[in-house]
Subunit: 519 residues, 2 copies
Amino acid sequence: MPSLLGHRPPPDQPPEPPAYLDLIEHIRRASLLSSTCSLLSWDQETMMPAKGLAYRTDQMALLARLSHEHFTDPRIGHWLDTCEADPALTTSPTSASAVNLREIRRDYDKATRLPTDLVEALARTTSEAKAAWVDARRDNNFPGFAPYLRRVVELNIRKAECFGWAGDGEPWDALADGYEAGLNAAYVTSVFTPLRPRLVALIEALGEAAQLDDAFDRLVLPVPKQDAFVRDIVAALGFDFDAGRLDTSAHPFCSGTHCFDVRMTTRFHENMLNDALGSTMHETGHGIYNQGLPPEHIGTPRGEPVGLSIHESQSRLWENQVGRSRAFWSWAYPKLRDHFGDAARGLTEDQVYAGANRVAPSLIRVEADEATYNLHIMVRFELERELLNGSLDVSDLPGAWNARYREYLGIDVPDDAHGCLQDIHWSMGAIGYFPTYTLGNLYAAQFFEAARDELGDLDAMFSVGDFEPLRSWLNEKIHRLGMTYTSAELCEHVTGKPLSHEPLMRHLEGKLRPLYELD
Amino acid sequence: MPSLLGHRPPPDQPPEPPAYLDLIEHIRRASLLSSTCSLLSWDQETMMPAKGLAYRTDQMALLARLSHEHFTDPRIGHWLDTCEADPALTTSPTSASAVNLREIRRDYDKATRLPTDLVEALARTTSEAKAAWVDARRDNNFPGFAPYLRRVVELNIRKAECFGWAGDGEPWDALADGYEAGLNAAYVTSVFTPLRPRLVALIEALGEAAQLDDAFDRLVLPVPKQDAFVRDIVAALGFDFDAGRLDTSAHPFCSGTHCFDVRMTTRFHENMLNDALGSTMHETGHGIYNQGLPPEHIGTPRGEPVGLSIHESQSRLWENQVGRSRAFWSWAYPKLRDHFGDAARGLTEDQVYAGANRVAPSLIRVEADEATYNLHIMVRFELERELLNGSLDVSDLPGAWNARYREYLGIDVPDDAHGCLQDIHWSMGAIGYFPTYTLGNLYAAQFFEAARDELGDLDAMFSVGDFEPLRSWLNEKIHRLGMTYTSAELCEHVTGKPLSHEPLMRHLEGKLRPLYELD
């Protein structure tokens, strides 16, 4: 088994200069450390016994420190200076060398602005906060979590100050840029502002229509059978179980260690197959993206996903455009009958399709339908922005959260476990991240329209369980490109147009209005 | 959750000098890296998807290199020099500081003799060899494994040459010393030589007696029920599932990452509950030892197990002295009936007890009974010694193996999968290790006699499932002491006598001769 570190360009390409080879070798080594950290984190969420936490926290803090030291090695700066002056490496902006140099420069400039003690404090604090969040959500105990969240917010403000932001911007921008190059609060506001009335109008109209059958959500199904069912679906979509795993955790996630070892998780409740399947197809979208990254560029930016919005577009596309389509269910419904037998007796295909597409304002983001989902995101975006700029104190978060849910979704939050304690993200220090979910919805809809234009009748394929053409198209158009393009460039490259709200609204209105018999 | 790195002596003890505190802090950090390596290895054996191997090999090689760099940091030499000159740290040879300084000195002197490239080559080669061994054993393909084994042997000869050995010794000694301080081939030969005729006489006598009922070994039991059964036993013995796990792997092992996170594995076959239970109780003995190490000394020698023979004594004691006793089965037999119901109908307690104690020469070491087991070890010891001193070539290993099995155990080896490919150890680079198994058997028997002398009627306790007195006694006498004593010193400390063959032979003869109706 040859080392992946040893990869070199094929002999028919011009040799790369020593500074570039040294740089890439170094970055690949740094990636070995960060991917090890990622595996420790996966293990903590899925496998680690409870008493292992303190030592795990120490392990991850040390790995984070070593990884940071690697990514901030001053030699990187020298190598970059040398390479950036070499036209052979940079002339073609989509060449692997140009992409790697651009992204390594970006990361290096960011990383060298963070002091090592802050990096280690963030790793330690978020490891502890994640565990505190599990307890606090279980016990509906926001005061027990608040000190951890306060510390996370304080450290993230320090982090934002280290990065800095554009003159008319704010701390949130500095953090968001880490998830999506160039993302800032003003842009998000400009995208969310026109989207919101269109969505609200649709949701209100659906709310006034006769409600869809909820028989699918009342079905009680044994968890082991749910597990077998979703594994069947995941394999059919094209996830490679020889290059990844599916386990369970409190909050589903996909850990993209590298393309040959992708760790996804999901979760099960006896009366929520719809949730389990949606979560699993969502993570499978992430997983298929990670498995589709180009292995010859493993451990370098050219082999990494372009950013969180695009990553989210892949999960949403499989979850929503595929998994909530009539065509998907005409294939999956008989499988569901096979798996659950008598327990699913009497449930019709129409009921399942309706159950997968019911729209109703609700408390929990990850259980929300694909229309109201975006309102959950808007709440989080506004609150985390306020936490960072100091206009909202952590102790006031529950009240502010509950007021916003009343205002945007029209519902009362009964307790914090179903309110501001529901998401793991802030405990992990992921602030500036949530809006990429809604941006992902928008990209997903636009990519899917382009795929349909090029591949023809996708519904006919889905209805016989043939997902390979779509997966191959996504792989060729998006996955294999790694970070070649920015999100906005990739959208133009794949669809020929800049990002627009229209495809998402066409998708939602085109499916939901007939289903609710509004037309 | 406070960092475990921050532990300091309690305020009623005199303050420790800065050089000692710096040394301990550094060693604890190095242990974080080696324990991370250990977790990656566990993951590779139990969880990692097949295609993850190449990248995992790179991850482990880098972690091994970083860990080695930490353990060979020249500052350790300076700190040791300073501390060793301070009588307050060394006067009492069993104080934590004296134990730590003695063992860190030993490790440091060893580690600084190994060049970094050899350490990394060993990590990479053994990671690849482990995977090649899995395939080779499955396919009965020794030639496919031979190049890997040859490389492992070559690297281990280089390693032995780096360490050196006493004037009249040999390369094997240099490697064995890494598992057990002071162990050498001449000593092992001196122990094995008188043991062998006693064992052979017993085994021959048993072979001529009427054979025991093998109904227990012919029982076919569903693997999920076996899994639930052994978990019940493991919990009853006192393994803490909040501080550890039990999973499955090709070869059972126990990975002692640290006392709060102990990862054991076992394996199941439908017709081998006896094997699954024996393996599981064996690993549980290792696991209980690891969980019983003193947490206040985590990451330092004072908090680590004393050596492999003593570790093995703990696994053998629970596997053999406890798990093959009449008293254990008078408690476990009703549980077996509860777990397996009709599948175990008709199997009597006498049959189960006999099945757990059948003695017959056989091919596979890990399935061998506790009497013939030691002959398997003698074969391996002699062959690995010859591989290292060059008198046996890797390509001749199968022939030499098969000849020795004919001579010592009186049986013919049908293929290499049941011969020299059966053990994972050499693929992991563990050469010089096997004899610690038989030394472990000897220590186990001697410790168990001492426990019975002090605790009274252990059989009465076992027969009602009360294993706590024995576990506490072992914890107090052995586990909590970490590396305070060497193996030989510990034996004297616990039993009042030097190691002798008599307790093991008393155990075997005292149980087996009546069972085979020889008296």
